[in-house]
Point group: C2
Chain length 353, copies 2
Amino acid sequence: MTAPRFLVLADRDFGPLTSKTANSIIRYLPERTVAVLDSQLVGKTAQDVLGYGGAIPVVGTMRDGLALKPDAVLIGIAPVGGRLPEQWRTWLAEALDAGCDIWSGLHSFLADDPMLVEKARASGARLLDLRKPPADIPVSSGRAKEVDALVVLTVGTDCNVGKMTAQLQLVKELKARGQRTTFVATGQTGIMIEGWGISVDAVVSDFTAGAAEQLVLQGSKDADIVLVEGQGSINHPGYSGVTLSLLHGSCPDALILCHQASRVHVGDYRPGAWVKIPPLTDYIRWYEDIGSAVHPTKVIGISLNTYDLDDAAAKAAIAKAAKETGLPCTDPVRYDSAPLIDAILAARKGLTK
Amino acid sequence: MTAPRFLVLADRDFGPLTSKTANSIIRYLPERTVAVLDSQLVGKTAQDVLGYGGAIPVVGTMRDGLALKPDAVLIGIAPVGGRLPEQWRTWLAEALDAGCDIWSGLHSFLADDPMLVEKARASGARLLDLRKPPADIPVSSGRAKEVDALVVLTVGTDCNVGKMTAQLQLVKELKARGQRTTFVATGQTGIMIEGWGISVDAVVSDFTAGAAEQLVLQGSKDADIVLVEGQGSINHPGYSGVTLSLLHGSCPDALILCHQASRVHVGDYRPGAWVKIPPLTDYIRWYEDIGSAVHPTKVIGISLNTYDLDDAAAKAAIAKAAKETGLPCTDPVRYDSAPLIDAILAARKGLTK
């Protein structure tokens, strides 16, 4: 992939917990983000809205965004079900007319929309559907257990708690320490950042574990440590099947449990949430018990998302989680990632396959 | 649906554990099965091969099968991954030329094969892809927990142990006892038999639990008891995600654990099986613990598949499973289904939603 500069589309949804894809692009590719489009937050900066991202401006119209000369419009929200809001199609058409590519991680594929396809053909711009899985993914047979690398999967108490972000922080630090480490992207945002991967939640369910298996076999080729991006949660009413496919397909040797300290219900950030998040020790039992039913695995640390707490409350939450679980705990975005890095290196050392 | 008569295609795979779809059609729709095509078993009857199905003949060529005037050729095997063996396409073309419909439960859709589509168009025959999911399945939000009916899901120690068959036996008996009961088909064979349903394993994984939710909402409309066909197993390296989507999407109040007494490994009937089947009590813990993470559920009985054991060994296996688990146990195909029927009626009585 070349390195295009993005206009990030997050209309009426730009915020710390809602515009998940936008936020990760801003966090990991700020130098390639020209602006965010949100008609309700015009004039603010990414820093104002998210607390990071510096001076990246928020614009209110596609015209203002295109004036900043992006190479591509990147769809920065993931609506429930991942389908394209109808009203956005006219904006995308406008961008395509201007010769801008469109990067999308939605379940509904741009390439299935004849109007957009025609616009792209006319201007020579490209439609990139990053969630579209490759053809011919096999059924998993558990072959990922055979790789020599240490495989670490992030698992969560919910969607959108920081499973990808934790791995991106850890891969950076492990590489800085000279460890041959691969980040394996399993969702559209990770693919946008890393340049390869499969959105496992877009794979037909008989083959979802097979997709995870393929990714680990690929990611472990030149690495001693493979960090797999987790998805969903084992008690999420809608997405638990994706979570378990990933747990069994990737055969992780070690798990890092990710949680947002202030979260009360699964899916709290959307209306209608009702499954109460139980103690972290319940999750540890579930993930270890069910994960080990296919390949022995242990939770080796806790990654706590404390973005909405003040420093004292964040530190208290970290100490509480560590005490409750008896495991190393940190917020690897906000504080030192060393407790988790050390746990990974210890697991790598102890690995006998 | 009308009631077509089938030629069942199961070439080189017709047998008690391999040709799963064929076998269920023969068991539940014998009067509509004109023959089975298997070139290696020509001259035998279904009874010879399966131990049931009476005089239904095995033929060795499509011509011999078509001579018996079927209305449709039904694809009676489900290869791993569910894709169509290349060599069968010429047979299907021959059948279409003769005006026969094709019923398929494969993951590869007949309607995506231009040659078959053209043949069908020319003769007026129809291609029925029963595994093709409907469009616009929502993400599950756990709404199935709100239905008034008792929802009973079969769960298994593996694929292909009798999760659909158990429910078909139980629905028959519950209806005979005057209970308003619905069978909810979640796989292609159940759909062929029942006439409606969704193959949940063919649904994109973000929406698989949503498919289960839709089926339970539909199936509970005029019923006091809803029997949901289970899929896969919670420790199956390839299919566990489908299993968990079904467990969380259907919100069962009660579970019936299905096992084949002689099975040693998950997937034993195919090469490469390596996950050893643990004690039934492990499965009970897994299914209750993880199922109840979304909606409270209990295993209320064991359905034991003893088809390959003699009478004494079968009865001993049933007694052993009942003792190990402390739960009612029977082989509802071979023996009286009363222990499971009584457990379901007791659960229905105890249900307070």
